[in-house]
Subunit: 385 residues, 2 copies
C-alpha cells in the first residue's frame, strides 16, 4: 500500500468568533495549511471537510462547496463528511483513502464548525443530533447527560472518586496554557472543578468541553510528493468502527467498543502497540471520556485509567503524555476537533509543539462521535518505515 503524509497544517484560534462566519474560518485554516506546506491552491487536487451541523448552526448545508468556493479552489471536487464530533477524523480518513485510491495526489482536509450563531440552548439541542433522536434527544437527554450516565456507572463499577475525575481537566488546562490557539488558557485546581456549577450529576462545568467556533486544516500528499517535504509526518495506521447510536444499546457503558476496534485496526496497520505511542490526543469531551479512552486504547487496564492521572503519566514529562495541547478543553469546534488533534500530533513529531515531548516519534489521535457510535483512530510516524 502506498504511503501518505501530512505536509502542511493550519489552525484558527479557538473561541467565540462573532466577527467571522463558517466560510471565513474554514478559509483561514486552509490558507494557513497551504502556507505551512509552501504550496498554492493550484497544487490541490481535492478538498475534504469535516462538519457536524452547519445546517442547524447556520442554515448552510453543502459545506464542501462553500469551502472550496470561498477558498477560490473551484473546480476541484469537494466532499463534506459528517460523523458528529468525529467528523474531522472522518474527513481525514476519507481523504487518506482517496489518495490511496490513486485518484488524487495532494488533498486539503479541513474541519470547521461555527457554533455561536445559535443561542447556547440551541447549540446543546443541535449537538444532541449526534445521539439518537428518536430514543434519546426526544426524551430530553443532553450530551452532558449521556456522559454523566457513563461517569456514574464507571464510578460505581471501578470506585473512581469525584476528585480523581477532576484530575483530567486540571491536567488539560495546565497543558493548554502555552497553546496560542486555546479558547481558555488558565490553570484550574481540583477544588475549582469541584466548586464549578453542576451540569449533569456528577459532571460539572469544568468537566465539559466548550462551545467553540474554529477551523483546522491539513494537507495530505502521496509518497512521491511527500518525500520531498522535510517536515512530512506519515500516516502509519487508520481505524474506524461503529457501535449502537443510543447508549442503551451497549452491554457496558464504561467502555467504547468502537474505539477499541478502531484502535486495534490502527495498531495493526501501523505495526505498533500502545507501549510504542509517545504522545496521544484523545477525545476528552467530558472528563470521564479521557479515562475511558486510556483503557480503550490499551494505555491502562480496565478500571485503572485513573492511575495514569494520579501518577502524572499522561502529563507532560510522564510516560505517555495525553492532550499536550489541552485536548478538547482548548476548544471543541465539533467538526474541526479531529483535525486539530492531528495538528498537535504533527507538531509534536516535527518538534514544534508548545509543550514539546522530547524525541516524540509516534503519535496517536482518538476522535469519538456522539457517545461512542463512531470512533476513529489514527497513528502518525515521524519516519517512514
Amino acid at each position: 500500500m502506498e504511503k501518505v503524509a501530512v505536509i502542511g497544517i493550519g489552525c484558527t484560534k479557538m473561541g467565540e468568533h462573532w466577527e467571522k462566519s463558517l466560510r471565513d474560518l474554514s478559509t483561514e485554516a486552509g490558507a494557513l495549511a497551504l502556507k505551512d506546506a509552501g504550496l498554492s491552491g493550484k497544487d490541490i487536487d481535492a478538498l475534504f471537510i469535516g462538519n457536524m451541523s452547519a445546517g442547524r448552526f447556520t442554515g448552510q448545508e453543502h459545506v464542501g462547496a462553500l469551502a472550496v468556493d470561498q477558498a477560490g479552489l473551484t473546480p476541484i471536487p469537494a466532499t463534506r463528511c459528517e460523523a458528529a464530533c468525529a467528523s474531522g477524523s472522518l474527513a481525514f480518513r476519507k481523504a487518506y483513502l482517496s489518495i490511496l485510491s490513486g485518484h488524487h495526489k495532494i488533498v486539503l482536509v479541513g474541519g470547521a464548525e461555527k457554533m455561536t450563531d445559535l443561542k447556547s440552548t440551541g447549540s446543546v439541542a443541535t449537538l444532541m443530533g449526534a445521539g439518537d433522536q428518536e430514543w434519546e434527544s426526544s426524551i430530553g437527554l443532553t450530551f452532558t447527560g449521556l456522559y454523566a450516565l457513563m461517569a456514574r456507572a464507571y464510578m460505581r463499577k471501578y470506585g473512581l472518586t469525584r476528585e480523581e475525575l477532576s484530575l483530567v481537566p486540571v491536567k488539560n488546562h495546565k497543558h493548554a496554557i502555552n497553546n496560542p490557539y486555546a479558547q481558555f488558557n488558565f490553570e484550574i485546581t481540583v477544588e475549582d472543578v469541584m466548586k464549578s456549577p453542576l451540569i449533569a450529576d456528577p459532571l460539572r462545568l469544568l468537566d465539559c468541553s466548550p462551545i467553540t467556533d474554529g477551523a483546522a486544516a491539513v494537507i495530505l500528499a502521496s509518497e512521491d510528493v511527500a518525500k520531498d517535504f522535510e517536515n512530512a509526518v506519515w500516516i502509519a495506521g487508520s481505524g474506524q468502527a461503529s457501535d449502537t447510536l443510543a447508549l442503551h444499546g451497549r452491554e457496558d457503558v464504561c467502555r467504547i467498543r468502537a474505539a477499541e476496534k478502531a484502535a486495534k485496526m490502527a495498531y495493526q496497520q501501523a505495526g505498533v502497540g500502545p507501549d510504542d505511542i509517545d504522545i496521544a490526543e484523545v477525545h476528552d469531551c467530558f472528563s470521564i471520556a479521557e479515562i475511558i479512552a486510556y483503557e480503550d486504547l490499551g494505555f491502562a487496564e480496565r478500571g485503572k485509567g485513573k492511575d495514569l492521572l494520579v501518577n502524572k503519566e499522561t502529563t507532560i514529562g510522564g510516560k505517555i503524555p495525553v492532550n499536550t495541547d489541552g485536548g478538547l478543553k482548548v476548544g471543541h469546534p465539533v467538526g474541526a476537533t479531529g483535525i486539530k488533534q492531528i495538528i498537535e500530533v504533527v507538531k509534536q513529531l516535527r518538534g514544534e509543539a508548545s509543550n514539546q515531548v522530547k524525541d516524540a516519534k509516534i503519535g496517536l489521535t482518538h476522535n469519538v462521535g456522539g457517545s461512542g457510535a463512531t470512533a476513529i483512530v489514527h497513528i502518525l510516524k515521524k519516519e517512514l518505515d
Copy 2:
C-alpha cells in the same frame, strides 16, 4: 487501477412515508440491496450514506451511525457524505474510491432523506441550505427561484419557448408510468404544465421535482469479488467538480460548468464520449435543468438541447433515452437521488428496467448539488473491458 462493480440494488417506494422514519427507510433499501446481491450483512466491510439535511429535517445528525446501527451492521465503519442534492452520488464515489484504496472489498452505499417531518415551507427553507446562506437564502431566494433565473436567462439567450420547456416533464411523467417506485405515475400534457400553478416565473408546479421521503442502496465490490456475480455492472468512469456556491458568481448561468468538468473526467476515465452513451439519468430537479444537462454532457450543442425533446431523441425509442424511470419527477428524496439514478442505469444494463432500452451497454448518471456548485457524473458499463 482495479475495477469496481455494482452487484446489488434496492430502493424504497418514493412518496410521503408518514409511518416510516429515516432509519426505517435506509434499512429497507439496504436490506433490498443485500437480498438482490444474495449477500448477508456479515459480508459488508463498510457503509456509506448520502444525506443532505437530516439535522434540519428530523433533528438527527450522525446519519452514518444511525444507518449502520439500525441495519445491525456494527462495528463496520460508517460514513455520511453531504453535497446537497448530489449527496447520493458523493457517497457512491467515496465508496468507490475506498474500494480502490484497498481498505475495503464489499461496501454498502445508500442514500436517504426523510423530508415530510417538516412542513413544506420548512422543507423549502431547509433545501435552500444547498445554496449560499449568506448571499441567497438570507434574501429570500428559494431553489425554484434560482432555477427560474436560470430558465429565464436561457429562454432569452437561446429562444427556448415555455411550451418547449414543458416537454421535459411531459416526457418524464410518461416514462414514470411503469415505474413501481414512482411517487406520481400519471401522464401529463403540455397544456397541464402550462395551466399548473406558477411557482417562480417561468417555472410552474409541474416543472418541479417533489418533496419526497425515500431511500436507495447499492452494493459495490472489488473485481475479485464481483467477477463471480453474473449481474455485475462495472464503474467505468467517475467525475466530480465544483463551482461557485452562489449563482451570481458564475459567468454564464445557462450552463453548469461543474457538470461539464465532471462529465469530461468520467468520459476520459471510461474511454468513451457522449455518442457512446445508451441511456442517461440526469438531474431534472426543474425542467430547465434537464435541457442544460443535455448540453453540459455533450448530448447536444449549446442552445440546441430542446431539439432532442422536440425530436423525441431522449424519449424511450429515441437515440439517447434520458430519465427512463421518470427522473427526479419520480420523487426527489434529496440524499437518495444519486443512488436511485445509479439503480435505474444498473437495471437498464442488466436488462431489467421497467422501460427497457434495447441492448443498453453503457449508461451515465448526472447528479447536481444546489444550483450547480457540485456535479458528479458516473459512467457504468455492462461488460468489463
